[in-house]
Amino acid sequence: MATKTVLGDDPFGDGEAPAEKPADKAAAKAEKAEKAEKAAPKKTAKPKKAAKADATTSAPEPVPEPEPESAEPEPAPTPVAASASAAAPAPEPEPLPPPPPPSARRAVTSDDHEYGPSIDRPEAARHSGLLDDVRDLERTVKDRLRGDGSEPRGEHGGERQHLPLEFVWKRWRQIAMRDRSDVVDEFGRDPTVAARFEPLLDFLYSRYFRVSTRGMGHIPDTGRALIVSNHSGTLPYDGAMIMHAVRREHSARRDVRPLVEDFVFHFPYLGTLMNRIGGVRACPENAERLLQSDQLVAVFPEGIKGIGKLFGERYRLQRFGRGGFVKLALSCDAPIIPTAVVGAEEIHPMLSKITWLTKSIGVPYIPVTPTFPALGPLGLIPLPTKWFIAFGEPLYFNTEYGPEGASDRILVNKLAEQVRTRIQEMLDELLKERKSVLFG
């Protein structure tokens, strides 16, 4: 799934790029000549300024920095050269051969300096006179103070400023990128973050909730499918466990994308975390896009009503929304896999819920469990119940009704009710077999 989005491998590798090369090189040469011309007066002026700069730095450089572009020979076509030529516009149907004028705003020299093609000298540099001299001096002093002088700052129009010290910048980026990857899939699943949470999910799955699954064979090895499950547990642990179960136990190790309620995304941290490990905000557009790209999608049609059930109502399925998932399955031609999760209802036995003023902080309710507000954050630790997840036989409605059935509201409601009944049966079956909440 994540492998689908291979980004940045060879962004410049368009077949059309080399065609423009000769023109580009000519432009580059013209540009170079112009630069050398401009550089000349600057160099002669430098010793005087260097003397002044001595006052501020203990180790002045005796020789002015050679302009990198005049010192280096023209390199062989490298990836950068390709990038510079990819910079040129795509060939028009009737292209005109003459190269772009040398005074074009962009200097496409591949050997400009280490930061690749850059903006050319600002207009002001062409003026002569005292003001220019003062500016030049200012620039030199700044360069010296910075210490490395690897990058002539004056070459930049001002937008490309980095942290002053190159190596610090580089190191900082390494540190900053350490716990994240530079490619996420289109819904924001970050493989590095997901891998970091893998051990935690694994611990919850095999040690804490001791999940046992059945009917894993009902999930297809390839192609789209909609996993429809009951929802419970105050916090959406069940989505994470279904996701982890399929990744761990299924023969094809498929990734499941659970659709997560809106309110989770209003929360700081929680929404971001769910998104990075694979959760997707529940809305028809997202679900459709996922199914169209042949992924496994887990939906919880009960929604907030499901996870907000009181302890007394446990394992009694709520209304299945407005049947949006059936519409989705019909229009995307996806089978529905009814799924029952047992054990999640008891992790946070909710005795009551506070709905007073909770809308203003963006939460649907505040749960009251035997532990939660009483023990503070400790109350957020779920009870270690024993879980069962059963995947039922796929229900495929499209052979009978076809995609146009999605617009028949009565049919959609009827089918939604049919799925709900099936899941309730599966739940009852599992509950009958279960002997103990904590030990299964």
Binding site: P11, E159, Q161, K170, W172, A176, V184, G188, P268, Y269
Partner: protein, 357 residues
């Protein structure tokens, strides 16, 4: 040559007939906002294309690139009679395509003026286009018009309603207003092919806009706990899209967005910025104060874009226009930074010599 508005009136219905006697296949394009990045790049590209007979660069400042077949016309769109001036020019030169790119690329404190330019300026351009029955109109817009909203789907399609004006950010609201006018125009003038290109935040080595300014600073705010996915587009891909839109006939709105998305904090990490985390309920008042005192150039409502999703789906532009971004999000960032390879490591010979640290 110079026709007064009164003389123009009989001509306007046969605007195309008054075109100079050249190859009838050749076209005349008028570009408003020709001094801006998009306007200037488009003019330069059309200048090199033989199929275009003439390019009219319309702006209040003369473009800096060498004018070959490009003609500069000074029209101030905030002028109450700008529509008449434009109509005169369009009719006289036999314009067959109008590109309207005279929008601000960064928010300004002069909000009244910005409103005049973006909303009223669009009205003027539309009036002139309607009067001269110009067959084609290309309008620049931005994906910020969708607005950052917690209930946005991950990929906003062109049909999604424009909620950007709900955020009370003047910069976005004027653009939404302009788009609504264009939509109305399209209904009333069915014979004109109207293309709206909504560009994602644009980065690149030469463009200057709010995004480049934001990412040019060494520090950037992050709202604690919020890390929306973002998308970027490269400046050259934007130019390509405009050239395509001028070349072909693609009625409708198109999202012009680069491939790939990245979380905001990852973009900052790639760019080596120092993040300043702050809770959102503190960040908004601070931002408000900085904006009100004109210390900072970002209106407080822009924080929404650091908090919620505003990512558009570029599939339609690829499918219908055949536009293909050459830079994905990583390559765009790399090119903005001027980093040599796509691995986001500056290929610095100096650093390599000292062991790379």
């Amino acid at each position: 040559m110079a026709t007064s508005p009164k003389q123009r009136t009989p001509k306007k219905t046969k605007a195309l007939a008054t075109r100079p006697p050249v190859d009838p296949e050749q076209r005349v394009v008028a570009v408003t906002g020709a001094y801006s990045y998009i306007g200037a790049e488009l003019c330069k590209r059309l200048e090199r294309d033989r199929r275009y007979y003439k390019v009219l660069a319309i702006d209040v400042r003369k473009p800096t690139f060498p004018l070959g077949k490009t003609q500069y016309h000074r029209v101030d769109l905030t002028n109450p009679t700008a529509d008449d001036e434009l109509a005169t020019i369009f009719a006289r030169e036999g314009v067959d395509t109008v590109v309207h790119a005279a929008y601000l690329s960064a928010p300004t404190h002069a909000s009244a003026w910005a409103h005049e330019l973006e909303s009223i300026g669009t009205m003027h351009v539309l009036n002139a286009t309607a009067e001269c029955r110009v067959p084609k109109l290309v309008v620049w817009s931005q994906t910020v018009v969708y607005g950052a909203h917690p209930a946005n789907p991950n990929f906003l399609t062109e049909e999604h309603e424009l909620r950007g004006d709900k955020a009370r950010a003047r910069f976005v609201r004027d653009k939404v207003e302009a788009e609504r006018q264009v939509r109305r125009f399209r209904k009333e003038n069915a014979e004109t092919c109207v293309t709206v290109l909504r560009t994602a935040p644009t980065l690149g080595p030469t463009i200057r806009n709010f995004t480049t300014r934001f990412f040019a600073r060494p520090v950037a705010p992050i709202l604690m706990g919020f890390d929306p996915l973002m998308q970027l587009v490269h400046e050259r891909d934007v130019t390509d899209a405009f050239v395509l839109a001028v070349d072909g006939t693609f009625p409708g709105e198109f999202n012009i967005v680069g491939d790939g998305v990245l979380p905001y904090t990852t973009i900052l990490a790639m760019m080596g910025k120092v993040p300043i985390p702050m809770p959102h309920f503190i960040a908004y008042p601070i931002s408000q104060a900085l904006w009100a005192t004109q210390i900072f150039d970002s209106p407080p409502n822009f924080l929404d874009f650091l908090r919620f999703l505003c990512v558009a789906d570029g599939a339609k532009a690829k499918r219908v226009m055949g536009w293909k971004p050459r830079y994905d999000i990583k390559a765009t960032i790399a090119d903005f930074l001027g980093v040599r390879d796509s691995q986001h490591e500056p290929a610095a010979p100096r650093a390599a010599a000292t062991g790379g640290v």
